[in-house]
Amino acid sequence: MTHIHIKNLHVAYGSHTVIEGLDLEIPDGGIVAILGPSGCGKTTLLKSLNRLLDLHEDVTVRGSVLIDGEDIYAPGSDLLALRKKVGFVAQRPFPLPMSIHDNVAFGARLHELPTVADRAATSGTVERHLRRAGLWEEVKHRLDAPAKGLSIGQQQRLSLARALAVEPEVILADEPTSALDPLSVRIVEAQFRALRQDYTVLLVTHILRQARRLADYVIFLYDGHLVEHGPAETFFNAPVDPRTQAYLHGEIS
């Protein structure tokens, strides 16, 4: 299992500090929920783990993030290998301008994985990951149709299938259900539950109930600081920090 170790992480956009001195070892495997009120740095923390923050202008990152012992912020670190290892599901799905089939195969083709070496292998791979994302039955007869035509809920599951096809070891999910209708939320949550055996899933959410339903481990951020973290049971039943208690009681949200 991949191991993530964050050391003294600082992130700032311009002069505005978002994460300040965060130290954390993330447990391997299972669903790790990152909880906290909006604007507390959850998404920033998540995007620091696959260096997606690099796309933002004016962002400064200090400290280090070790993934399997290698600092991903060290000069010359292999970003493509990092993003192969650490998959990402965004808050709002964005289907690439191509067919459903090609969306799933896109990342795997970039990385020239043996699973997409030829046509037959590719269609097997596409099917496997669409099944895994719980989308296969709905799209199996229209794999060549544009992915834009899917509903938002389906698009989000396509995003998941697309991320899985790259064969990552860690999955970062940024409020993956916030744009979805209740039925799609249930389906997507079920897929995540099924993934916890094989992956470390980092799930950003501001929905307390979702964290209760899914999390094995919880990280609670407040105003850019790590307040409390621990196994879900301890976190929800015996929180130590008064801010955590206030959050769990709905006094801050």
């Binding site: 796309l55 301008p97 191509m98 896109f106 990342g107 970039l110 991320a163 790259v166």
Partner: protein, 276 residues
């Protein structure tokens, strides 16, 4: 302000806007009508087959199409890479903004300035007016329009496109080639045809550079006629039969620009509907 006064102001504003629209409408309708009425009776199919010596305007039509097609393809070769390079992922915002400012300035520069500049260059190099010189000058006129419109097409792409493709492990080049170009295609097509439309109707830039002739162009080094200059020169003659050719040429130019506009719109709509 009292309520009746506010209502009156509202009505006044609506009248003012309606009036402005009406004036514009009448002006354009008048212009169109005059071109159609003067041009249509003289626009015979035989005119499209004969060149200036045979009493037709084929030389100008072919000339314009050669100039327009050559220049827009050449402009595309410069504008597309430039617009790609000005994307957020490549160019720092300050450079992109400066480039946009310069392009806007060049877009607004009268095309006679381009023509004069190219002419000076030609005199200095000892080159005569020719199709090639016309194409090069017209391409210069088109590049700012095309680049600017293409930059906008790329700029309007959602940031999620870059974020999610990057997260899948794609490099900037791969995202540009495999995702961004495809997603921006309708906008890029519109940009291309916008520049083509501007170029094919332009007279000033080719006045000194492409020259003028009665004949069909034989080679890139020959002078070439064009519809806008056909209108310009022939309207100035006292001979009514020659003048009628100018009217026909004006109508043909209008039809050409209208056709290009309609096709570009249809293509853009089609591309966005069938966008994969």
């Amino acid at each position: 302000m009292s309520r009746t006064r506010r209502c009156r102001m509202d009505r006044l504003a609506r009248w003012a806007m309606g009036g402005a629209l009406g004036i514009l409408g009448i002006a354009f309708a008048g212009l169109l009508l005059s071109v159609v009425m003067r041009g249509l009776p003289h626009l015979r199919p035989s005119m499209l087959l004969a060149d200036g010596q045979g009493g037709g305007i084929a030389h100008a039509l072919v000339g314009s199409l050669c100039l327009g097609a050559g220049a827009s393809v050449l402009a595309l070769l410069l504008a597309l890479p430039a617009a790609v390079a000005l994307q957020r992922a490549y160019a720092p915002p300050r450079i992109a903004e400066a480039a946009a400012l310069v392009l806007d300035l060049l877009w607004g520069t009268p095309s006679i300035v381009y023509g004069a500049f190219a002419f000076l260059l030609m005199v200095w190099m000892g080159v005569r007016t020719s199709l090639l010189a016309g194409i090069l000058t017209l391409a210069l006129v088109m590049v700012p329009v095309m680049t600017r419109a293409m930059t906008e097409a790329f700029r309007s792409l959602p940031p999620e496109l870059w974020e999610q493709a990057t997260a899948l492990g794609a490099t900037r080049g791969e995202i540009t080639l495999k995702v961004a170009l495809r997603q921006a295609l309708p906008g890029l097509v519109t940009a291309f045809l916008l520049a083509f439309g501007r170029g094919i109707g332009d007279a000033a830039s080719i006045l000194f550079t492409a020259g003028y002739t009665d004949r069909l162009p034989g080679s890139l080094m020959d002078p070439v006629a064009s519809l806008p200059l056909e209108v310009f020169y022939q309207l100035a003659t006292p001979d009514p039969t020659v003048q009628s050719r100018a009217h026909a040429a004006a109508l043909l130019l209008l039809i050409l620009v209208l056709g290009v506009t309609l096709i570009s719109r249809a293509l853009a709509r089609r591309a966005s509907r069938h966008r994969l």
